[in-house]
Structure formats: C-alpha cells, structure tokens
Symmetry: C2
C-alpha cells in the first residue's frame, strides 16, 4: 500500500533525527571534552527542533488522515497509524513558543540544579524550579486531563496511568511494605562489609563484561562504556549502548548496574527490526522498560539461584575479597535492607518509599497544595514519616535527583511500576516454565530471555502496559506478586 | 543589524546539523558495533538531507538576497554573505533525491570496501564503486565545469583548483622529484631497522599523547581515540577529535600520525570561536588544512632540530629499542627514502608519486577514458611506471585508500598542495622569525603556533588558498620552496 509506505518513510526519518540526537547525548555523557558542552547543547536543541517540525508536519497530517479514512488497513498497520495520530495530535497542542520557553527553562533549571548541588542549597535553584513547575502546570492544561492535572504528565511516561490508579496501587503497597520493613529492622542485620573492600577497577570491568555477555547482550549490536551515571540508550535494535560506573570501594555499584542496564538493553535489542521508527518498533512504556531492567537486576540478579552458579566466577575474579564469604553470606549481603537517604542506593524494599515520597510531592505540586518553596520541608517530613530517617542536608535530600531539573514530573512512579511488573512477569515465566529456576541455578538464562522475547518484546508499543501485562500473565497489574516475592525473599534472609 | 543576525542564526542551525552528522560519522569510525552500520548509514543520510534542505531554504535565499542588495554590510560580513550565496547557489543545484542517493551509495560502497579489503579483492566492491563513480560523474554535470569534468570535483575541496593548474604543478614537480629520487637510490641506504622492533602498544599511546600535548593540542577542547585509519574531525573549535592507530612493530606509524593529526587539530582549535557556522569560522580549503598537518608532521616533526630536543624523551619511553641509535641515526632513519606500495607509509619525496597516480586515475575516470573495471590494471601499471614497484595484490594496491569508497574524488591532490604550502609557510615563518629553529631545538614550538594563529587561522575561508598564501608569504604558491626543502634535507642525509 503506497500511502502506508509514505507514512513509514516519514516516521523513519523522524526516528533517524531522534536517534541522531540520542547519539549526541550519549557522546555527551561518555566522551565529550569539557569545553564542548555549550555548543553540544545547541546542536542537540537544533536536532530536537528539526524533529519537532517533522512530527507536526502538514504532510504527515494528510497521510495520517487519509490512512485513517481508508478502510484498507489491517492490524497492526491500523494500530500504528492510530498511535501516530495520537502522537501527532499531542505534538500539535504545543505552540513553538511554548516548546522554546520550556526548553530554555529546562536548560536554565538544570544548570542551577548543578549549582544548587555544589552549594548544597535548594534555595539556589528554587526560583528556576518554580518557573519550570509553573510551565509544567501550564503543560497539564495544554495536554488536558479529566480527573487530576498530574494525570496529564503521568500519561506522558506511562499511557493511561493516573493519580487514581497510582493512589490505589501505592495504598495497597504502603502498609504491607511498612509492616515488612518493621519486621526486618527488628531482626539482626546481615553483614555486607565484604562488598566494601577494594575491588580493582579493571577486574570489576572484566567481571561486569562477562556477566553482560552471559545474560545475552549482543556485543555485535551494542557496547558498554563508562559514564558518571549508568544509562541505556538505543539508536536502533542493532546499536544499543549501555554505560556503567566503577567504584573501587563498592562491589555492588558496578555489578548490578551492569545487570540492570543489560535488562534494558535486551529489551531494545529484542524489538522487531522491521518496525524501526514505528510505534510497533518502540518500547511499550517506561514502566515496562523498567520491568525489564529490574527483572534481570533483582528477580534474577539478586537471587540465590543465580549466584549458586555465578558465585564461583565472582570468586575467581576476586579471590581475596570473597574468600571468607560463602554463597549464602554473599546472597544475604547483597540483599541487605536498610532505610536510607539516597534513592539510587536503596534496597528493593525501601526503594518504593523513595518513589512514593516523590509521587506525593509531585501530586501536591501539580494540584497546587504545596508550593516550590515548601519542597525541602515537605521532603524532609516525608522521609521521617515514611522511612524514619532524618535528612541532614539538601544534597542528600531534595537535590539528589536530576529529574525535576529536566522537567521530568511523572517519571518516578514508573520505577515502582517496573518492580511490580517485573515480579508479575517473572512469576508468570516460572508458572509457564517450571524448570526455570533450575536452569538459572545451572547458569542458563536462555529460556527466560526466550520467554521475554516471545511475551514482552515483539509488539513494541502496540499494547499499553496493562494490556501487555494481561497478555503475558493472564491478569492486569497485581501488587500481590511483588509483595509475595519480597515476603519470600526477606522471610528467608531475615528469618522472619 | 537584524537581518545579518537572522543570517547567522540560520547558518548556525545548518552547522549544528552538519556537526551532528560529523559526530555520527566519528562514532561510526571509532565505536560503532558491527551490526549498527546499516541503520547508521540511513541516519547520516537523513541528517545530510535535512542539512541540504536548510542550506537551500527559501528563507535563506531571501535573507541573502536582501543582505546583498543592502549597502550596509561592511567586511567581513559582506564576504561571509557572498560566500554563503555561492554555497547556496551550488547547493540549489542538487536535488534532495540526488543527495540521498549519493549518501546511501557512499555508505554502501564504504562497507563493501571494508569487505573487499578483508577478501583482498577489488572485484568485491567493483559494482558499488562503479555506481558511486557514475554518481560522481553525474555530479560533475550538476555542478558544471568549463574545461574538464574533474574540475567540478577538484573545486569542491580546493576552490579554483583545476586540471589545468594541477597539470602545470605536477609537470613542474615530477621531473625534479624523479631526478632527486634517482640520486637518492643510487646512494647507500640509511638504516631504519630500529623503527621496526617491538614497541608496546600502551607505551606508544603514552608517548603519542605526550607529543600531542607538547605541541599545544587542547585536551579540554578535544580528544584522541583509536580507529582503523587516523583522521581529524571537528564539531566546533571546542570539540576537535583526532584518532590514531598503533602498530606494535612500527614506531613510525603512530608517532607521526599523532603529529600529523595534531597539526590539523591545532588549525580547527584555532578557528575564531565567534564565527561558528559562518564561512569566517571554517577552514580555508583542504590544501590549507593539509599544509597544517604536514608542516607539523614533516617540516617540524621530521627535522633534526625537533629531535635534537625530543629524542631524549623518546629514549626514556623506549630505552631498549633506541639504545643503539644516536639522534643523527634516528633522524636519518625516520627520513629514509624508498619507493613503496602504500601511500600513507611513503616518505616525503615518493609520496607525491602516489598522489600523481591517483590524480591521473581520477582524471581518466571522470573523463571516461578508463572504466572502474580497469582500475586495478591501471593502478598497477602506474606504480610500475612512476615508482618502479610491482603491486602484489589489491590490498596493497587500489584498495589501500578509503577515499573512493567515500566518494571523495578530487581529494588526493590536496595532499600534495598541502606539502607545497607547508614548505612555503614554514620558509616564511623562518624568514620572519630568525630564531625559530633555535626555539624548536630547545623544545619550544609556541612561537611557530603563534605565527600560524596570526597568519593562517584567523580568517576562516574568507580567503582562497592562493590569497591566503600571498597574505602569509608575500607570493602565490611556488613549488620552489618544497623542492629546496627536499634538496637541502636529502642532500645532507644522503650526502648528494
């Protein structure tokens, strides 16, 4: 069909521009010389402007309208076109002036966040953040919503995600997690001191690379580099880049970042090649993306089954550091639960309190019941209330995340959704493949990857998270799987 | 002036797109995973298409016409506008379809050249090359020419360069070089066996990096990486990337590639920052660019003065390998003259025969007197005729250069022009700074760099090579300087 081919060509051009932008951003994080930063920012902005122009182009509008009117489209073509029409209509809502104002505000806010962190003082960036929050509120009006303004932003990262849905989810989660946390902290703490010895940089790198390879990352279609903060980016399924960082005094930092990013990367490398640039070739949602990283990092990479096989390799890389620790001690140590200040360093249990705090704050900011000025006080109160920890300063408090300075309001909840989906997917995979844990125990994760390739990767974003979850597991999102997983794991580790 | 600001903004956006493309190309040479090649080619093609659209935009046409009509422009604004008008008029000649076809053909040809080299067989890429050559012939018609089709392509790399001019230059050069070569080969050969011992990779890298730093490369505004073939690329004067390669059995390979690319990079890092994206912020021509790399590589980096100071450092890096060689032996060894097969490994004298061979071939290909299929036979004949060497296989013959696979026909002659300009510039610098050689002998190249920063770098491409040469040296290009330089150097080394 000729018109559909035109549609594909247009979307692929758009994908090329976005992926070029991603290459420049990747380079910015891994190899950019310091003085190159300012013009690189401008180069990325120009690509983003060009991409926006292409995504709101009249030609695209005509093609989409004609395709929608025609009766000839079958699935999945029809769904692709409908999703593209949704994207187009949304993009059209933004005036070029608003896009420019937002992009300038983000850039300004990001730099004052850097400065605020340097000075360890929220007030340094309060004004710029307040302006950005004001723009995000305007954005909720531009995008539109029915129940809650925050819904408009949540929907950007996770289609159909709402305050109503998250309130329900977190309300189900909070008391159970709190109860479990209370049980754990009453018990004798596990020993993880062996993780904090000296682990030489090169050895960590080699060990990390061996893990990545074993899990199925295709090094002919991707690579790993070093950056300040680990991330995954993809320029197409045959060029997926992951990064890591190495802390020579912390074995955990690099090891689980490698597994986490590999989870993201396997998803990207598993998206259908023929669908490049189309909705059917893109990841389903941020929550589903995060489910893939967390499934490998936690459900697999922090399981006793996995380390029963892998620990001998770890020991061969680090014989001195690990000589006094058996696999059970190792397993307990890497699963230590402890309320703490920094989200990215939190364990699988307390992590979700960090997310809920941010969610509550964002919700209040968007509905206007809390002002930007109140953020530090609110933040510190919530940390005391949810996790029982006192926040000593802004750097270890409300300045720790980059997200708000980027204007990414509505992003944090997808991290928790990721854990919930991961547990549910892993439970389904185990049900459907009763031998799965035995295979993992013998160092074989191929069938798990095959299951994901069959049940999660092939449809791009033709299904919402909820639809995909139903397809893969037989039911919609259910917090029970994650809670059962935690209860089982910590029940054994902490002898509850 | 408001209109001139609009012009600048437009050109900077265009520069952003071209530089983004350069980032993707750099990444392709240094870090791209193998499977990423095909879609990368498409992404680069899309950027190139977008850049072409911007460079032929009606809005730009209006701005330029209005600026040209207005009487308010002073220099250098007026010259910038005139050069941009020239660029615009030239770009308008290409259809978007032709631009995309060319870009895709280049990408395809490049990958089949890689494969042809692997298989050591020209025929593997003959078909793709033939298609590309056909497109280049079409390009000569699109661009137009008066005397010879090849002129259209030569002009792309070196404004106002023609077959007539190069025939004249090479006719002046050929017999003198031949005569000098005959004198040299009749003499006792110098010993360069010390260059071909084992020089460990990491040590070579460290030595190369120390040289680059000493010559004034700003590592806050650039970096060096490893690639198959050394090259320099710039995304702006604050982000200049050079690459090198290491052969552990050849000390020369990396050392002089480092100096050579540094020469290119110093030029790029020295272009005026405020002129980003404008003709006044771009390099003058490829010949002038090459003069900068060759001036540092040869006139400085292969001189006795330079090594009288630097040799002790080299010895400290490689005490075992260099223990038996004094600085005079080292100097003679690194300047050994010998007819050979590989252009990039050729000495300063025989190098130009390699260029003349390619020049003759390209001229014949463009006028159609030789077909793509005949390239290997013609190549081998010319090597026998010009250099008296027998080409044993395609890899050491017509497959050795990347240029044709990139569609870069008309590029090679700029290498020879580079040597000629370099000799003329260096002679001028010495005349104007009689202490220069003494400074170099004491490890100080700062004033030479300052001279280049004053006489070559500041004008971007506001002057043609010939104009720039006149400004800097008091006369147009004159082969005498290069011939005198060679006669003096080899006269002493070979005791002629």
């Amino acid at each position: 069909m000729k018109l559909y081919e035109q549609y594909k060509a247009h979307l692929r051009k758009l994908a090329d521009l976005k992926n070029a932008q991603a290459v420049l951003q990747w380079d910015q994080e891994v190899y950019l010389p310091p003085k190159g930063a300012s013009l690189r920012g401008q180069q990325i902005a120009t690509l983003s402007e060009q991409a926006h122009a292409l995504s709101t182009d009249e030609k695209l509008e005509h093609i989409l309208k004609e395709l929608i009117d025609s009766q000839e489209l079958k699935e999945p073509e029809r769904k692709n076109v409908m999703l593209s029409w949704e994207d187009f209509s949304k993009q059209k809502k933004y005036s070029p002036e608003f896009v420019r104002t937002m992009s300038e505000a983000v850039s300004k806010c990001y730099h004052s966040w850097i400065e605020a962190r340097k000075q360890n003082s929220f007030s340094v960036y309060e004004k710029d953040l307040d302006h950005l929050i004001d723009l995000k509120k305007q954005e909720t009006e531009i995008l539109g919503y029915s129940a809650h303004p925050y819904d408009a932003l949540l929907n950007e990262y996770e289609k159909d995600c709402t305050v109503a849905l998250l309130d329900k989810t977190f309300t189900a989660l909070h008391p159970s997690l709190k109860e479990l946390l209370n049980l754990v902290v009453a018990k004798k703490q596990v020993d993880d001191s062996f993780l904090h010895q000296f682990y030489p940089s090169q050895k960590q790198w080699d060990f990390g690379m061996s893990l990545i390879r074993k899990l199925g990352f295709d090094f002919d279609a991707g690579r790993q580099d070093i950056s300040e903060h680990p991330f995954t980016t993809s320029f197409n399924r045959n060029d997926v880049r992951i990064t890591t960082r190495i802390d020579e005094n912390n074995f955990g930092n690099m090891t689980w970042s490698c597994i986490h990013e590999t989870g993201h990367a396997l998803y990207e490398q598993g998206l259908p090649e023929s669908e490049y640039g189309l909705p059917s070739g893109e990841y389903a949602s941020l929550g589903i993306h995060e489910s893939q990283s967390r499934l490998w990092e936690n459900n697999v990479g922090r399981s006793l089954n996995f380390w029963n096989h892998e620990y001998s390799t770890a020991k061969s890389f680090f014989p001195d550091q690990l000589s006094a620790v058996d696999v059970n001690g190792f397993y307990r140590g890497i699963n230590k639960v402890e309320p703490s200040l920094i989200r990215t360093e939190a364990d699988e249990l307390t992590y979700h309190f960090h997310v809920m705090i941010r969610y509550e704050l964002e919700k209040m900011l968007m509905e206007g019941s809390v002002s930007t000025h109140d953020i530090p006080a609110q933040w510190n109160d919530l940390y005391e209330k949810y996790l029982g920890v006192k926040v000593p300063d802004d750097k270890r408090g409300c300045l720790q995340d980059i997200h708000w300075s980027h204007g990414s309001f509505g992003y944090f909840p997808t991290y928790s959704l990721g854990s919930l989906y991961a547990a549910q997917f892993f439970a389904a995979a185990k049900r459907q493949m009763p031998q799965l844990l035995h295979e993992i125990e013998s160092g074989n994760t191929k069938n798990l990857l095959a299951w994901l390739r069959q049940n999660i990767y092939p449809w791009g974003r033709l299904y919402t998270s909820e639809e995909l979850c139903r397809k893969a597991t037989g039911e919609g999102l259910n917090t029970r799987f994650f809670l059962d997983y935690l209860l089982d794991k910590y029940g054994k580790i902490y002898d509850l």
